[in-house]
Amino acid sequence: MLKISLDKLDELFEAISASQTLYIPADREDGSAEYRKYESGMKLSSALNTVRSAKDFFFPQTENLVDFKMEGKNIEVIDIRKESEDFVIFGVRACDARSFTILDKVFLAEPVDSYYKTRREHGTVVTMACTRPSETCFCGVFGIDATAPEGDAACWSDGESIFFEAHNDKGQKFIDSISSLLEEGDTAKLEETREKTRAILKKLPLAGLSTESFGGDRMMEHFNSEKWGELSESCLGCGTCTFVCPTCQCYDIKDFNTGHGIKRFRCWDSCMYSDFTKMAHGNPRLTQLERFRQRFMHKLVYFPANNNGEFGCVGCGRCLSKCPISMNIVKVMKALEVK
């Protein structure tokens, strides 16, 4: 397997960023991590994952869709779309890598979302296998192997070197572009590291969680469950869970009047917000219970119903650590579980 020594990581990043934009998880001063555009001297974060997920790269929180110019009774439509430039996201975890295939199912379904598609085509996802999963991790529940992440190319660290493997042409192209820095390496120690990680994954506190009670065919049963009242009673109705979630993809389209034109933009929206379904003549989801239910039903029932049983959650654990009142999908799954 091709590898690069960890102390040559700077050289690697320099080489990648010389030809295209590179994003890596970097540490913030408060100890958390975020994706940043690579600049010389920047260090790869050792944190398990970033606070914000990697979905931003393909589905940014706000983006301009189209501009309008209004003159008298006339409207001019200005297509402001640009071809995206090539970029690399390095160090994506297995959970986030899977979230892209989930987002693909939404945005690349007919009619294709061209804004998403162009970024997806131009972005190379280089994943990094986990070595120190956290107590909040439960990706295994959704069939994700944290020691064998998806993505265009994957890499593994054995504590001394990083090993590379391509999963498709785009990944191969990426590895070819840095091949002068790589050398063939022995994977014995890597196998050992992976084995250790697998052992940890098995004894994670949430490893025993089951998805058996959920899926597209359980719609009415779960929708009408009496548990929702108790589960949602302390929900604040904020958007934290949806905004840190790598798979939440609901959006709003709004117009902004700049004073010299109209910008129509799209921004993330949250089904937890009270105005999400509000119409001129009323709102079908009036209480937080209904809005709370929508979010979890979508991930555990509606999404699988429309996507051959695939769930809309990747078990990254962000909502577990970030919800202000610590109510999350794991607690919902445990409460709704049919024994």
Binding site: L65, V66, F68, M70, K73, N74, I75, V77, D79, R81, E83, V106, F107, A109, P111, V112, D113, S114, Y115, T118, G216, M219, M220, F223, N224, Q249, C250, Y251, D252, I253, D255, N257, I262, R264, R266, D269, C271, F276, T277, K278, M279, A280, H281, P284, R285, E290, Q294, M297, H298, V301, Y302, F303, A305, N306
Partner: protein, 275 residues
Amino acid sequence: MNNDTLIPYIGVVTDIRQDTPDVKTFRVVSPEGGKVFEHMPGQCAMLSIPGVGEGMFSITSSPTNKEFMEFSIKKCGCLTTWLHAMDVGQQITIRGPYGNHFPVETDLKGKDLLFIAGGIGLAPLRSVINYVRDNRSDYGDVQIVYGSRSKDDLVDYKEIIEEWMADDGIEVNLTIDNPQEGWDGHVGFVPNYVKELNPSINKTVLICGPPIMIKFTLAGLKELGFTETQVYTTMELRMKCAVGKCGRCNIGSKYVCKDGPVFRFDQLDELPDEY
């Protein structure tokens, strides 16, 4: 780059007709003349005034009309108020067509049809009614039951009287909620009127109107012996993208904008009651 469905076309409003005190019908063509796009009866389009808002409206004209599209719009919120205030010649943005349509080429073909509408609920059905009138030989008897608050609130009253009632094989039954001077027709609510009319139960029903009317009419139809597989309706929820991605117009796993707006009642029965 291909055109993205979120980037709208321009439409020009060439005619505005005041139908009722709070409903206007707008005629829209492309700036080059002709229709902006083709559609099927029951499908919708997203109309917008940039800076004001965008909303989903059902296309009320029949696809058989090759010159223009029409939208009957009730003054209700921010966008519709703006639309009501505009003049002929105004450009708007339009994208579509969205959603499914009434199965005029399959399930409805050869059937006797019963249309039941209340208030502005006639708008989506008008497209089907005119489609059926223009392809008269493909369908059996047509019966229309239409009710509104008052005579003045009957949308397309002129067209109903002058064209629909004049057609052979079309029976039109109008009703208004309360007695009114100058009205010698039926008075009463739609659900009761339908029961009084006692339509034959081999008809296929297309129903649209306020939720409460739909609820009671459906119950009445069931009493008469209709089954849910015979009854179609069309829904409306808040929409932003209109292509099943923005995630707000769902009823259970179905998106009204993509999987709807036309549903058969047995399909709705399998979905959570959240509309």
